[in-house]
Amino acid sequence: MLLINIVGIVLIALIVWWFWLYKPKEAELGENDLIITVENGTYSPARIKVPAGKAIDIKFMRKDPTPCSETLLIPELSISETLPLNKLKSITLPALQAGEYAFHCQMQMYRGQIMVGN
């Protein structure tokens, strides 16, 4: 019984670490702009790094037919765009100050971060 309890607590600790504490790698925005694929409930890459103070185009390719994935929201920038299925959609980010900007779908089930750095 003790063993099971320990396993349970370790599992909880793992969940906390995996979903909250661990910071996944960022994809650097290349010279040719980056494509974020929306598929199977995720954005990939989900964390992207872009330079500050420069307007940037990010392209989205939605392959996921669930209705939720259709809307892309970047609340801090008041961006809300409909992503067509299986087609590239370019979204222009204004020149941004350094910081983190979250993007997600309507239900917030698909989530990503734009890291703006110098």
């Binding site: 979903f19 199977n40 409930g41 995720t42 037919p65 209705p67 917030q108 989530r111």
Partner: protein
């Protein structure tokens, strides 16, 4: 060849808006008949060399009805002028050894149709998955309900359940694959979503059941229960929920669909004396466009000849058609009713008022009011929290639960995972906002964002600017009191002639009245303006004088009893002006800015809804008092300078009011900005769409009451949704974990949780759709 050129409505499509206008110019043939030619564009495949150009062009030129075919090699497109049918063109190119297809422009409604098609395909897939899953799950569940043993004790039972387990696995692979892939993908990304919960829940139930089947000795005898039916049922029910949600969602965007549907696809432009039907995106600024009765206005413009009545209701909510003649503005998307007009395009493409409105409504529909933010924060952390709760619940059952503790632990963990999907919570706000903003747009009320929508529902005081808001903003002649032998039309004729050179708004009112009555003005000589007093001139050999009492006194003109009459007019908020002919008083002409027809009723509506209505004006106190009394407003501020309007807003805010400010947008801008909600009255196309929180497309103040009513209804709807979602999620979790067990000895079945979860989003979307039935109070 031109004899073939009959008029037709076939359109020229292009998928390349940047180059096609140039095509059009190169294709204009200088026929001077004004018949309609068509331009079609083909996309050519397989044309690899420049020499193909000649071959394709000559093949097309040989087709009857083709006036001229010209290929753009770089773009691999051919523009064909003439009346030849599209399939004949495609055939000709194919005969020449290439592939061709007709280019179609990317219209917004095409995109919509494509989306609907994709949604339909996904819907069918979900329904198929649902059928597969439920055809396994339902018989199993019925077997359990009628008392069939769901336990594994004998070898026969083991074999039978092994078969069922494998069948269930097939269901998971065929009908539930997307959940498992999605869960894995998002896990790799360090995120958790709805798929995570479903995959974990159904996976746990299946794995446990398989352990019972494969190695029953590992499990206490009492806990040798299988849950295959739960796995299959949950997958089936959630697929069903998703499918129904997809359907219901389609309806929430109806308003946008309707707006997009207003856009015309083609326009008839006149270039080089020739009428051409072109795709809407090929209309250029300053193009001359012809519109016949019954046709849609394709782009914004200014009428250059003809007159007609135009139905602008789709844009403004104003039911009456509006008369248009030379010099008037027309807006894209409105319908030409009676006459044929030609107009010059002033705004095209994305700049038309309609395109801007569509854009704005779309943006507003996806923005969130502050009330939704808490739900957002909850949603973001929800899934991992639920996973932790599920583990904790399982541990609690194992440690403290009655026998069979293991089975209880598995059931409660599975049920917690399944019931807790926060999707309904995430949908609660956006779905209602989408419908509410769309509903408002249909009534000619443009709400800029979710925040404005929420604040508008709380407005307690509404400040109305007088001129142009309560009143028409255009003075009109209200009274003509004759003091001499001249009759009214002579007076008007002389006065209008005299004033025709003046730019003063009061003068314009007189000139306009004369024009309306068909009175022509005469020639004016020796015109002079007397600053602060009036004007003087000679017309038809008479010396005319027009101005205030001071002017008359200075010229020693006897006013007699008319001084008193003039004062009475002033009390009624009219501006009286004296008119003298050859130094004798001829008439008093009174001009006033009349109150709009429905202002009084609309103000009453606001007051009945408990809103304190305050009038604000730069006019003198007497006029302000008279207008306020007429409009039914007891509170007003007169002689307010434009820069002080915002101070009045602040004063009311200091009193604790949530202040709405309504103005016509230009001199009221600071006050609009400082108010809790700024309402701009936009008249038709000249609307400053971006300037206010809420824009009323029609002049009527009923729009204010409508806007507040819609925002209240939407907020109420959001609250219902949030409550519903909360019941499903937060309140459902403890039940799933088993809080009822110590009291009633019951534990929620995972199947019930699956059904609850499947229908939670559906409930929210359906409730949001109820808003579509909302009607602002009749007026």
């Amino acid at each position: 060849m031109s004899s073939n050129t009959t008029s037709g409505d076939a359109s020229c499509h292009s998928n390349d808006a940047t180059t096609s206008p140039h095509y059009l110019h190169t294709h204009d043939h200088h026929h001077h008949d004004a018949k309609t030619a068509n331009l079609q564009e083909l996309i050519i495949e397989g044309a690899g060399c420049a020499s193909c150009v000649g071959k394709i062009e000559s093949a097309l030129n040989a087709v009857p009805g083709v006036e001229k075919a010209e290929m753009n090699f770089a773009m691999r497109t051919v523009s064909v002028a003439g009346t030849a049918p599209a399939d004949a063109l495609v055939n000709a190119v194919e005969k020449a050894g290439y592939n061709a297809k007709i280019a179609t422009a990317e219209h917004e409604d095409d995109a919509l149709a494509e989306k609907e098609q994709a949604d339909w395909a996904y819907y069918k897939r979900l329904m198929r998955d649902m059928t597969i899953a439920l055809s396994v799950g339902v018989p199993l569940m019925i077997y359990g309900i009628v008392g069939g043993a769901m336990t594994v004790n004998t070898t026969g039972e083991r074999l039978a359940w092994l078969a069922v387990g494998l069948l269930t696995f097939a269901v998971m692979v065929i009908a539930g694959k997307h959940f498992y892939i999605g869960a894995w993908q998002s896990f790799k990304n360090h995120s958790a979503n709805m798929d995570t919960l479903i995959a974990l829940g159904t996976g746990t139930a299946w794995l446990y059941s398989m352990v019972v089947v494969a190695a029953p000795q590992l499990v206490p005898e009492m806990a040798r229960h299988v849950y295959f039916e739960a796995t299959a049922m949950i997958i089936g029910l959630i697929d069903l929920g998703l499918a129904l949600e997809l359907k219901a969602r389609g309806r929430t965007s109806e308003a946008i669909k309707r707006l997009i549907g207003l856009q015309a696809k083609t326009a008839r432009v006149i270039r080089d004396d020739k009428e051409l039907d072109v795709a809407i995106e090929q209309v250029l600024m300053d193009d001359i466009v012809r519109v016949r009765p019954g046709e849609k206005i394709p782009v914004d413009g200014e009428v250059i000849d003809g007159h007609t009545a135009i139905d602008e209701s789709m844009l403004t909510g104003e039911p009456m058609p509006v008369e248009k003649a030379e010099g008037d503005a027309v807006a894209a998307g409105t319908i030409n009713k009676t006459g044929s007009i030609r107009f010059k395009a002033t705004r095209v493409g994305k700049d038309t008022a309609l395109a801007q409105i569509i854009n704005m409504v779309k943006r507003a529909q996806n923005s969130k009011p502050p009330i939704g933010r808490l739900a957002d924060v909850i949603s973001a952390y929800f899934v991992p929290v639920i996973m932790i709760i599920a583990i904790t619940s399982a541990l609690a059952w194992l440690n403290f639960g009655p026998d069979p503790a293991l089975a209880f632990a598995i059931v409660s963990a599975t049920t917690v995972l399944i019931i807790a999907c926060p999707c309904a919570l995430g949908l609660a706000t956006p779905m209602s906002v989408m419908v509410g903003v769309g509903k408002a747009a249909e009534a000619g009320v443009l709400i800029r964002n979710g925040e404005a929508l929420q604040t508008a529902s709380k407005i307690s005081a509404m400040i109305l600017d007088k001129t142009g808001t309560i009143t028409l903003g255009a003075p009109k002649v209200t009274d003509i009191l004759i003091a001499s032998e001249e009759d009214e039309s002579t007076v008007l004729k002389l006065a209008a002639s005299l004033e025709s050179g003046s730019e003063h708004p009061l003068a314009l009112a007189i000139v306009e009245t004369a024009r309306e009555r068909g009175i022509e003005s005469s020639k004016v000589a020796n015109f002079s303006a007397i600053a602060g007093h009036g004007v003087q001139a000679d017309v038809d050999g008479k010396t005319l004088l027009f101005g205030n009492e001071k002017l008359m006194r200075e010229r020693n003109i006897d006013l007699g009893e008319f001084v008193e009459k003039a004062q009475n007019l002033a009390i009624e908020a009219k501006t009286p002006m004296y008119f003298a002919v050859n130094n004798r008083l001829s008439a008093i002409i009174a001009v006033a800015d009349p109150i709009k027809d429905d202002s009084i009723a609309a103000i009453k509506r606001l007051q009945q809804n408990g809103i304190r209505v305050v009038m604000l004006t730069g006019d003198n106190r007497a006029t302000a008092k008279a207008v306020a009394a007429k409009a039914g407003i007891s509170e007003f501020f007169a002689e307010v300078l434009p820069e002080d309007k915002s101070k009045k807003v602040q004063e009311l805010q200091m009193e604790g009011e949530v202040v709405g400010m309504t103005g016509d947008g230009i001199n009221d801008a600071p006050a609009l900005a400082i108010a809790n909600v700024g309402f701009a009255i936009g008249t038709g196309t000249d609307v400053a769409i971006e300037s206010a929180d809420i824009t009323l497309m029609r002049g009527s103040l009923h729009g204010l009451a409508d806007a507040i009513a819609v925002s209240k209804a939407t907020l109420r709807n959001i609250k219902q949704n949030l409550f519903g979602a909360f019941v499903y999620n937060a309140a459902g979790v403890p039940f799933a974990a088993g809080v009822l067990y110590p009291f009633f000895g019951v534990l929620l079945s995972p199947v019930v949780a699956g059904a609850a979860m499947a229908f939670s989003s559906l409930t929210v979307v359906t409730n949001a759709n109820r808003l579509r039935l909302f009607k602002a109070q009749e007026h």
